[in-house]
């Protein structure tokens, strides 16, 4: 039998406490709210699974969930290939390496609400640089507060601007770890540039790319601040993503029960998709 050293548990304990206080206990409160109705004053009425049933049958939730998947899907489709392409075209040696890396890291250093505010001003039709250029100079009717299409184009562009760097930096880290001998061998074997990408670079980037996609999925699926500051969910409900809707229900309407049920379902979906994705991506390695 293997001897077990239980000392390790002792070292994990502080983390356990921390997680308990900032995640488990708040989460339990949410579970508590999700099955009750409250009108304040600490008075609660048992509702069972009613909020969950209501929510899963509500068109409003379906619409927000649909928008959320559309948003996440679109930014993943743009950011992942774009990030890989940028990483591939960055220099791997020489004085430009640090310059490129810093330039890439810059957008990620900006606080989320600042990003929202920046893009808000940037796109204002009368004084914003982009808004003015589009409307006055190019003559394209572009107003985020009027057109849902313009609003979507703006939030997508903003997210791509803000987060493609993450994919770039992670892919780049994977790329620089490939020894020169691989490229030399491929040259000697007569491999085309596409084959070099397909059989050397992509396999070596796969692990970091998995992490990048996972992070981008979770982050974009839970996105709140940037979109809220930029569009506030409008025009109409066109950019009301799940998190924005959730806050509207919880703090706007103060429906704590339905909001709690929604958070739990929201959480379950994020967890499920992440798990599915991770399992699929790492399936081959386990063999």
């Amino acid at each position: 039998m293997k001897t077990q050293n239980h000392k390790a548990w002792f070292f994990v304990l502080p983390v356990l406490f921390l997680v308990a206080f900032n995640a488990l206990i708040p989460m339990m409160t949410v579970v508590n709210y999700s099955v009750q109705e409250t009108f304040g004053n600490n008075v609660f009425f048992w509702e069972g699974l009613r909020w969950f049933e209501d929510l899963l049958n509500s068109d409003r939730f379906h619409a927000a969930l649909g928008r959320q998947f559309l948003f996440t899907g679109l930014i993943l489709l743009i950011e992942v290939p774009l990030g890989v392409i940028i990483a591939l075209s960055m220099p791997r040696k020489g004085p430009w390496v640090p310059v490129c890396l810093v330039l890439m890291a810059l957008p990620m250093l900006i606080p989320w609400n600042v990003v929202g505010a920046m893009w808000n001003i940037f796109t204002l039709p009368d004084i914003g640089l982009l808004g003015y250029l589009m409307n006055t100079t190019l003559g394209i009717d572009y107003d985020m507060t009027q057109s849902p299409f313009a609003a979507w184009a703006t939030i997508i562009t903003m997210d791509v601007w803000h987060w493609t760097s993450l994919v770039v930096l992670l892919s780049y880290a994977g790329l620089v770890s490939i020894p020169d001998a691989y490229y030399q061998a491929a040259k000697i074997d007569g491999a085309s540039p596409f084959k070099v990408f397909r059989y050397i670079q992509l396999p070596k980037m796969k692990q970091v790319l998995t992490i990048a996609i996972l992070l981008r999925f979770m982050d974009s699926f839970n996105i709140y601040t940037e979109v809220f500051v930029l569009t506030g969910g409008g025009p109409g409900n066109s950019t009301t993503l799940l998190s924005i809707d959730l806050v509207k229900i919880a703090l706007g309407q103060f429906d704590l029960g339905p909001a709690a049920a929604m958070s739990l379902i929201y959480f379950a979906i994020t967890l499920l998709v992440s798990w599915l994705f991770y399992t699929l991506m790492t399936k081959d390695d386990a063999k």
Partner: protein, 358 residues
């Protein structure tokens, strides 16, 4: 397959080399005949990998030409030279099976699939990896991975030369020996020109018919393992090859003879060069402890298994001798006898005596 000629080859990694020290390779003129097994031997940083990369086309030399069968290929990229190279660390395509790995160089050149299958199974049999063909290459052990990279080099039957860049570095010692004999065997089967780069003399001497010894970007000697051992053209070769290496002893030239610590030493033949710092070179295997000869004091005796290495001082010069059987005590006064036909004079490092006519 082809004869490879290197003509007046020089290479510097600097954009504007001025002195000789700026060159990683200093003027190399070499002929590698078709189907030979060559080893490129030298310490780390002597330019052997640079030379290899120039032959394979991964590097374009600063000066000089590379000719394959008389055709200038200096400016051709690696894939147009029909060469194969096996690297220090096994390079395999992780996502492919062993079969696809071996087939890769052929498929890239549009060889038809029946021919690919035939070649791959032939090579797999040679390397004894037939039962691995369907497995993914990523999970293989390092020695099998290295076998696959060798296989990728051998799979094309039209290769001009197969080059090995210290291919056994990451292999476990007991498998090293196996792979080494496998390589030798492969060379006899495929008869392609092979160049094997290493800093390990055992690897070089067991693999090659001809060994090229390099130092500081220069070729110091080319010869069979026996020639290198018996008649090193340069003190470096003497020192680098053999264990322990050749005794290189500062000598004094006067009255037409060589003197070591004041005692006359008979040389193998006529001295051909009259300038340069004189040194006597003799392998420890040819220094005998006897009743007469140079008087010496034993400083150290090391038992290295089959024989013992006796280190003795002639004045303040240390001489090593290999002896079998009884060894003298430390501190004992002995006499050393140099076998005359193996005692050579070197001047400024280069051999300066004529061999005894045999």
């Amino acid at each position: 397959m082809a004869k490879i000629t290197l003509s007046k080859l020089r290479h510097s990694y600097m954009p504007n080399p001025t002195s000789a020290d700026d060159y990683a390779l200093k003027e190399i003129d070499l002929d590698w005949s078709d189907g030979g097994a060559y080893a490129l031997l030298g310490p780390s940083g002597c330019g052997k990998s640079t030379l290899l990369n120039i032959i394979s086309g991964l590097l374009i030399p600063s000066e000089g030409q590379v000719l394959f069968d008389g055709k200038d290929v200096t400016a051709l990229p690696p894939d147009q030279r029909n060469i194969a190279q096996v690297f220090q660390f096994p390079v395999i395509y992780d996502t492919m099976t062993v079969f696809d790995n071996l087939a890769f160089p052929l498929r890239n050149r549009g060889v038809d699939e029946t021919r690919v299958t035939a070649r791959v199974s032939e090579i797999a049999t040679m390397l004894e990896v037939t039962d691995l063909l369907r497995t993914k290459a990523a999970g293989l052990s390092p020695d099998n991975k290295q076998k696959i990279s060798m296989g990728r080099g051998l799979v094309r039957d039209d290769v001009n030369v197969v080059m090995f860049d210290e291919p056994l570095t990451v292999i476990d010692p007991h498998l090293k020996w196996k792979l080494r004999s496998k390589l030798k065997e492969l060379h006899q089967k495929v008869r392609a020109t092979m160049i094997y780069v290493t800093h390990d003399q055992t690897e070089a001497l067991t693999f090659a018919d001809q060994v090229v010894v390099m130092q500081d970007g220069e070729v110091v000697q080319i010869g069979t393992p026996v020639e290198l051992f018996e008649r090193p053209a340069h003190t470096f070769v003497g020192h680098f090859i053999g264990s322990p290496g050749m005794n290189v002893l500062a000598a004094e030239m006067r009255d037409g003879g060589a003197f070591l610590g004041g005692h006359h030493v008979a040389l193998e033949g006529t001295v051909t060069t009259s300038t340069g710092a004189p040194q006597i070179g003799i392998r420890p295997e040819f220094v005998k402890i006897s009743d007469a000869g140079l008087p010496a004091t034993v400083r150290k005796v090391s038992d290295v298994g089959r024989h013992s290495v006796v280190e003795a001082m002639v004045g303040d010069i240390s001489v090593k001798a290999v002896t079998e059987g009884a060894v003298p005590e430390q501190g004992a006064a002995i006499h050393l006898k140099f076998q005359q036909d193996q005692t050579r004079l070197y001047r400024d490092g280069w051999l300066a005596t004529e061999g005894a006519v045999s």
